[in-house]
C-alpha cells in the first residue's frame, strides 16, 4: 500500500524562502499580481484582527497560503497559528506534511478532532455508502473558533472551485453562529477590506479567491515547493465506485457493487478520504501534473469531490451553516 512508501516530502524546500525558483522579477506577470494581492490580504488580516488563525489542511491550497504568509511577514514568523480540523479520515501523507511544515516554519499548530466533537456532543455519525464526516467538521470548526476566540480565519477557498464560492467576498462575514448569509454580504470595494465585527462574530478570509487551480499549481512550481507525495502518480489499491476511484481504507463503508482495483493514481485535491476521489495518472512531477490539468476537460471539484455532487446547492447550504 502506498502510504507505506517512503514519503518524498521535503519540507525544507517548502519553508525555505531563500530559494524562490526561477523568478524573473523584471517581468511582472499574473502570478506576481495574484501573489501581491494575496500578501496584501494576509497583512490586512494581521493589521485588522486581534486573534487570526490560518486554517490548514495539508492540501495544496493551504500549503500555498503558508508560503504567502511566510513571504508577507518575513523575516518575522507567521503571526498566527495554523489550525487543522482533523476528521480522523485524513491521508497520513497530508497530516505528516502538516506537522513538519508547522515545525519548519516555527508556527504554532492547533489540531482539533471531529472524533472528539462526536463524542462530546453525542452526534450521530453518517453511515452507509458515501458517508462522510465532512459536514461534521463544521461543529468542530465553530467550537475551535469559540475556544480560542478567533476573530478571523484564513482559508484557501478559491472562487473558481464552485458556484457559491464564486459569489463570496474575500472578507466573508459570519454571524455569531458562524453562518454565511449570501443575501446580506458587505459590499467589498477596491482593495478596502472592512473587518470590523462585534464580539463573537468572525470573518473568513480567502486570500487566493482570485486564483484558479492552475494558478496554484503554477505558483507551487515557480516557488519550488515540494508537495505531499499523494499529489503525484503512485500505485494505490482503490475502490472503484460509480466510475470514481476512492482509496481502499477501512473508514469507507463498502458496498456490494464496489470493485477493488489497483491503479496508478494521483490526487487532484486532498480532503477527507471518504469524499476525495483519485484520478488515474502517470504524472510524477509538478510539470507533468500541470500538463495534465491544462488539457483536462473536467473541473477539479467535479472530478474529485463527492460532497458537491449531492444537490445543485450543496456548497451554498454548507456555507450557510458555518462550513469553511
Amino acid at each position: 500500500m502506498s502510504n507505506e512508501v517512503s514519503m518524498s516530502i521535503s519540507v525544507k524546500e517548502a519553508s525555505d524562502l531563500s530559494d524562490q525558483g526561477n523568478i524573473d522579477r523584471r517581468k511582472p506577470d499574473y502570478l506576481d499580481q495574484l501573489e501581491a494581492e494575496a500578501i496584501y490580504i494576509m497583512r490586512e488580516v494581521a493589521g485588522q484582527f486581534e486573534r487570526p488563525a490560518l486554517l490548514f489542511s495539508g492540501g495544496k491550497d493551504s500549503i500555498t497560503l503558508v508560503r504567502l504568509a511566510q513571504k508577507a511577514f518575513a523575516p518575522g514568523k507567521i503571526p498566527f497559528p495554523l489550525v487543522h480540523i482533523d476528521t480522523g479520515h485524513n491521508f497520513v501523507e497530508a497530516t505528516d506534511y502538516r506537522d513538519m511544515l508547522a515545525e519548519k516554519t516555527g508556527s504554532k499548530l492547533i489540531v482539533r478532532y471531529v472524533e472528539d466533537t462526536i463524542k462530546a456532543k453525542n452526534l450521530k455519525e453518517p453511515t452507509g455508502k458515501n458517508a462522510s464526516r465532512n459536514w461534521l467538521q463544521t461543529f468542530t470548526l465553530l467550537d475551535t473558533i469559540e475556544e480560542f476566540g478567533f476573530d478571523a480565519c484564513i482559508g484557501g477557498a478559491r472562487r473558481d472551485e464552485e458556484k457559491a464560492r464564486a459569489k463570496e467576498r474575500i472578507f466573508s462575514f459570519r454571524d455569531e453562529f458562524g453562518q454565511w448569509d449570501p443575501k446580506r454580504q458587505r459590499p467589498e470595494l477596491w482593495n478596502l477590506f472592512n473587518g470590523r465585527i462585534h464580539k463573537g462574530e468572525n470573518v473568513r478570509v480567502f486570500p487566493i479567491s482570485n486564483w484558479t487551480e492552475l494558478d496554484v499549481w503554477a505558483y507551487l512550481q515557480r516557488e519550488g515547493i515540494t508537495l505531499p507525495s499523494i499529489y503525484f502518480a503512485h500505485e494505490r489499491e482503490c475502490i472503484l465506485r460509480d466510475g470514481r476511484l476512492l482509496y481502499n481504507t477501512p473508514v469507507i463503508e463498502k458496498d456490494p457493487e464496489d470493485q477493488i482495483v489497483t491503479r496508478q493514481v494521483r490526487f487532484r485535491t486532498v480532503g477527507d478520504m471518504t469524499c476525495t476521489a483519485a484520478v488515474e495518472s502517470s504524472a510524477a512531477t509538478l510539470e507533468e501534473v500541470i500538463a495534465e490539468i491544462t488539457v483536462s476537460r473536467i473541473s477539479e471539484r467535479g472530478e474529485t469531490r463527492i460532497d458537491d455532487q449531492q444537490t445543485e446547492a450543496a456548497m451554498e447550504d454548507r456555507k450557510k451553516g458555518g462550513y469553511f
Binding site: Y30, A46, I298
Partner: protein
C-alpha cells in the same frame, strides 16, 4: 501573460449572463462536467435549449428567479491573456452591486438590447463606469439578430451612445454589434454582419493596454503592519509592510511620512525577506527607513517631492449602499482610506445626481440606497489622498457604520 479584470453590465433581459457563457464556451473554457450540469439544468427549466446563463448564476435564489443578484466572478484564459470576469446585476435596485464590481475593473462591457437602443439603464451603467474611473468601455449592442442584423439600426444606436458618452469621462470607447446567443462578433467574426469590419469583443479584451492605465508616477505606500521579529539576530529590525498603491519607490529615495510630515530615507526594500532595489505599483513589499521614526498602520510613505493632499475637509462623490438607514448632514461614520480609519461627519450634501438623467438635484435632505451624491466630510484625523480620477487607489474610500459595522458608502474623493 497579464491579467484583465472586466465587468459586464446589463439587465435581466439583455443577455448578460449569456454573453459571459458565450465567451467561456467559444474560448473553450467550459469544462465537460460543467457543460453536462448546464445541460441537465436547462432541460428541467425551459424548452431544452442550452442556457449558457446558468453558468454564472451561483445562488439558489438566482437560479430560481433566473436573475443575477450578487457579483459573481469567473476566471478564464486565452493564449494571450488571463481574465477575471465580474458579473454584476443591472437592475437599479442592485446599483451598489455594480459599483462594487466596477471598483476593481479595468474595462466595462455595457450591454444594450438592439431592439430598445440606449435605455435608461444604459445611461446609468455608463455613469457608474465613468464615475468609478474604468479606463475602457465596450458597448456591446446585443441581439442584433432580432433587428435583422441591420447596419442602420447599429449606426443609429452607436450615434446616440456617442452623444451620451460626451457628457461623461470615458477615456476609451469601442462599440460592437453582437449576438451573444448566436456567438456573432464575440469570439468569432459574424457572417451575418459582413458590414462590420471592427474588432470582435474578445479581440478588444485581449489587446487593451492595461499597463498604461496604472498610475506609475505618484509614489504612495500605505503601511498595513509593522514587522518586528524581536529575535536576537533581528533585534532592531523594524519593517513597514504594505503595498505600493501607485508609483514606485527606490532604495535611497527621500520620503515623507504622512500625515505627520516627518522626512526620512529608504534604507532597504524587501520582498519575501529578500532585498530588492525598487518596488513598483501594486507590489506588496516591506520598507525599512534610515531613521527611527514613529510609524504605524494607517500612515502613508510617499515620495518627498510628490505629495498627495493632506486634509480633514474632503469632498467626495458617494454611492450610498445601506438599505436600512439613510445618510444625512450631521451623521457620523468611520472613513476607511487606504489602511487608515478615522471618524468623520457629514457636513453637507451638496447635490444628488440623478443616475438616469444625470441631472443635479439640489436641496436633498437625505440619501437612500443606491443614491449618488456629492458630499462634504470632515474627518477627525487628516487623510492623505489624491483626486480619484487621477489615482483610483488613493482616491477611494469607504464609509462604515460604527454600530452595525457594515460598509455603507463608496466614496470617490475629488
Amino acid at each position: 501573460m497579464d491579467l484583465l479584470r472586466f465587468i459586464t453590465a446589463g439587465s435581466v433581459d439583455d443577455g448578460k449572463s449569456t454573453l459571459i457563457g458565450r465567451l467561456l464556451f467559444d474560448t473553450k473554457n467550459i469544462l465537460a462536467d460543467q457543460m453536462e450540469a448546464i445541460e441537465r439544468a436547462s432541460k428541467s427549466r425551459n424548452d431544452g435549449e442550452i442556457d449558457l446563463a446558468l453558468l454564472t448564476d451561483g445562488l439558489r435564489s438566482e437560479r430560481e428567479q433566473g436573475i443575477t443578484i450578487d457579483v459573481a466572478y469567473k476566471y478564464f484564459q486565452t493564449p494571450n491573456r488571463k481574465f477575471i470576469s465580474i458579473d454584476a446585476p443591472g437592475h437599479i435596485q442592485y446599483t451598489r452591486n455594480m459599483v462594487t464590481g466596477a471598483s476593481n475593473a479595468d474595462l466595462a462591457i455595457i450591454l444594450v438590447d438592439a431592439r430598445h437602443g440606449v435605455a435608461e439603464q444604459t445611461r446609468r451603467h455608463s455613469l457608474i463606469a465613468s464615475m468609478l474611473g474604468i479606463p475602457h468601455v465596450v458597448v456591446a449592442i446585443n441581439k442584433m439578430d432580432l433587428v435583422g442584423n441591420s447596419e442602420d439600426a447599429f449606426l443609429e444606436i452607436a450615434k446616440t451612445y456617442q452623444d451620451l458618452a460626451q457628457k461623461l469621462n470615458i477615456k476609451d470607447l469601442t462599440i460592437i454589434p453582437v449576438s451573444a446567443l448566436n456567438g456573432d462578433n464575440i469570439v468569432d467574426r459574424s457572417k451575418n454582419m459582413p458590414w462590420y469590419t471592427g474588432e470582435t469583443l474578445l479581440s478588444v479584451l485581449e489587446t487593451v493596454n492595461v499597463l498604461k492605465d496604472k498610475n506609475t508616477t505618484d509614489g504612495r505606500f500605505s503601511v498595513q503592519y509593522v514587522i518586528r521579529p524581536q529575535t536576537e539576530e533581528l533585534h532592531d529590525y523594524r519593517g513597514y509592510a504594505g503595498r505600493l498603491q501607485s508609483g514606485s519607490l527606490r532604495k535611497g529615495e527621500a520620503v515623507k511620512i504622512l500625515p505627520s510630515g516627518t522626512e526620512s530615507k529608504i534604507a532597504r526594500i524587501e520582498f519575501g525577506g529578500q532585498e530588492i532595489i525598487e518596488a513598483g505599483v501594486f507590489e506588496s513589499v516591506t520598507i525599512l527607513l534610515e531613521d527611527d521614526v514613529d510609524i504605524s498602520r494607517g500612515d502613508m510613505i510617499v515620495s518627498v517631492d510628490n505629495s498627495p493632499i493632506v486634509s480633514q475637509d474632503i469632498e467626495a462623490l458617494v454611492c450610498w449602499m445601506d438599505d436600512r438607514k439613510t445618510l444625512k448632514a450631521g451623521d457620523k461614520y468611520l472613513l476607511q482610506h487606504g489602511t487608515a480609519r478615522t471618524k468623520c461627519s457629514v457636513r453637507s450634501i451638496e447635490y444628488q445626481i440623478d443616475i438616469n438623467s444625470y441631472e443635479k438635484l439640489d436641496e436633498v435632505e437625505s440619501l437612500k440606497l443606491n443614491d449618488v451624491a456629492r458630499i462634504i466630510l470632515r474627518t477627525a484625523q487628516p487623510i492623505a489622498y489624491d483626486p480619484y480620477q487621477q489615482n483610483r487607489a488613493n482616491g477611494a474610500a469607504i464609509l462604515i457604520d460604527e454600530t452595525s459595522n457594515v460598509t455603507v458608502g463608496a466614496c470617490m474623493v475629488e
